[in-house]
């Protein structure tokens, strides 16, 4: 998982798989938990930089989506 766009796509896939029943609820729950941790860690990084008043480019967040 390189960036947040990939994470989003992956979450969307997990959602579809959960609906179709190809993965169990427990498995999906674990994946959601990990995704939550990833998003929160990115958030914490953003907050840290905001408090320090610097604006570095966080690779995980700043992605140009390919159309």
């Amino acid at each position: 998982m390189k960036d947040v766009v990939e994470l989003r796509k992956y979450l969307s896939e997990v959602f579809d798989e959960l609906r179709s029943g190809s993965i169990s609820a427990n498995e999906a729950s674990e994946l959601a938990n990990i995704a939550g941790k990833m998003i929160n860690s990115a958030k914490v990084q953003m907050e840290y930089h905001a408090l320090r008043k610097d604006e570095p480019k966080i690779k995980f967040l700043h992605v140009q989506e390919k159309v």
Binding site: V4, A50, H62
Partner: protein
């Protein structure tokens, strides 16, 4: 107002009737009270020289506005400059909202339609939560955070939305299992 305008070659345009100063309207050819004359700040005497009575001016402008050629030109310009029109409208709306007249109108409307507004707000809020709108996802991200919701990039907002969707689905599954066991 200067008195110079009332002597010399403009003298015939002015007349004092019943102690009030009147000016001749070039369109209806009648003497009109000076207060009812359209303003023309750069004109001699501070009033418009042609079609100077207010009803005549408004009639003239109305005719001009309704002229088909004028409308065509206006629409063509608007079509070619959509961005300018949008910005202009936005500025005009903001100005009106901040003006005393706009505030009064809004207060009057709110007083009459308070229930309607409350109902709209409730419905909008419910829809926002149900559809996991951008605003709601940003609100969730900004919870317990020193950052504002608007400071988060769109990518993280989209990821948060997907995560919330998944969690909702899982919650629904849990609820179903719980209801089946009980």
């Amino acid at each position: 107002m200067s008195v110079i305008g009332r002597v010399g070659r403009h003298e015939h345009l002015y007349k004092v009737i019943d102690g009030e100063e009147h000016k001749l309207c070039a369109l209806c050819k009648q003497f009109v009270v000076l207060a009812n004359c359209a303003l023309g700040k750069v004109r001699f005497g501070g009033r418009r020289s042609y079609g100077n009575c207010k009803p005549c001016v408004s009639k003239k402008r109305k005719i001009y506005r309704q002229a088909p050629r004028h409308n065509e030109v206006k629409r063509a310009w608007e079509a070619a400059n959509r961005d300018k029109v949008r910005v202009g409208n936005k500025i005009a709306t903001a100005k009106y909202f901040c003006s005393e007249k706009g505030k009064a109108t809004r207060a009057k409307y709110m007083a009459v339609h308070a229930d309607k507004k409350r109902e709209y707000d409730r419905r909008y809020s419910k829809e926002k939560v149900k559809n996991i709108s951008d605003a709601y996802a940003r609100q969730m991200l900004a919870d317990y955070s020193p950052l504002k919701g608007s400071q988060f990039p769109q990518e993280i907002v989209n990821a948060k939305r997907e995560l919330m969707k998944l969690r909702r689905e899982l919650k629904g599954d849990q609820y179903e299992r719980r209801s089946r066991t009980t």
